[in-house]
Symmetry: C2
Subunit: 258 residues, 2 copies
Amino acid sequence: MKRVINNRKPLILVTNDDGYQAKGIVSLIEAMRELGDVVVFAPELHQSGMSSAISTSQPLRSRIYRQEEGLTAYMCTGTPVDCVKLALNKFMDRKPDLLVSGINHGSNAGISVIYSGTMGAAIEGCIFDVPSFGVSLCEYAHDADFTHACKVALRVAKTILDKGLPKGICLNVNVPQGETKGIKITSQTHGKWVNEYFQSTDGNGRDVFWITGNFENWEEDNENTDEWALANGYAAVVPVRIDMTAHDLIPELKKWEF
Amino acid sequence: MKRVINNRKPLILVTNDDGYQAKGIVSLIEAMRELGDVVVFAPELHQSGMSSAISTSQPLRSRIYRQEEGLTAYMCTGTPVDCVKLALNKFMDRKPDLLVSGINHGSNAGISVIYSGTMGAAIEGCIFDVPSFGVSLCEYAHDADFTHACKVALRVAKTILDKGLPKGICLNVNVPQGETKGIKITSQTHGKWVNEYFQSTDGNGRDVFWITGNFENWEEDNENTDEWALANGYAAVVPVRIDMTAHDLIPELKKWEF
């Protein structure tokens, strides 16, 4: 699985879903510059909850907003996945050695991996066979302290640059607030969001529904889950497979008379 | 896995990503009415390629556009996943016995399961523990003939109403054009989209990038894949697991020194 970097510095693609101005990506860019040359391709606007969405009816535009030795940073009008696709199809002259998406303002543990634009971007990198991970801090504040999350991101990045990742696998990394006790390899906690809407009215008295809710953890006591790790002060690393096929179920389904 | 329907008619939630006016969902609604009471909760606008995206900064609105014996149909301003969430949180007085999303205008085989709003809705139903499947016809035309796709959807729906589905599993059903030779249980074809952008300019001469591309199949000769089934005249059914954890990789990753 080891990736040969030759004599070149590693080339690292950085993106996110909170937009290019978010503190999380600004912090992540500086951290990744310690490891290699960085290309940023980040959404112009906030793209939280965009999952693996792509722009099918609107064209994309992009422009450079920052350029200096070892760093070229673009913003793009699309979703996180649009950013990764456009960067890799049109703007990068070689495949990056690593893609890092984040640092997200807020957790993407548990079922949130499905809705996360941060993880959408990491999954897209993985589809392109680029070793990829998403990293999220369990704090939503725009001025959150990303010091410890950057340290975790650096450790994960160094490990991946050294060892690579198996084909079709990316990592979902979540970091608790404050100092971390260490890094745990975990599974995606089973559970779902509940009480998901706050019902209100607009200025004309018409019903509107705002998303909200709480995560209902179905595995509270399972020490092998990402939610358990985070609740106990550890960063959680979940290996995510992009082939969603339930291969083990195919023999059983073949017996069904469809 | 068998789902007890008691003496009630099955309650079926229908949604899609092409919007409530698309011929695919209009055809699907009529097919599903043969099996039970139908509630439709479909996007007001085209939502192709929206994956599992949710609206995080805009409120949702919905209204009934059709109501008659055994059918209540709502349109909603959000994404396919927003539709499913809002229907199940706020508009349905009991959990449906089945969710069907589609019939999509165009294939969602292979890696497209990741980007598909049709499958985003089916995955969301599965998160709510509702037996769910997405169904897509391999033809993009707005006036495509959905006769055979409806027959396949009915067969799959009847089987699921009879047998249920294992927890955490939904189905991705793709149907070729014309008569089908039968239904094959398959895996998600490994491959990716390539040459994904058409570069053009806007009216002011500025660069814009439109999504396009071709699916590059990495398993051309694998008869167990959905793309093989479709190319050979069969409908393809892939069991999709919503837990994306690569459980088999966890012991190996635990040995790495992060």
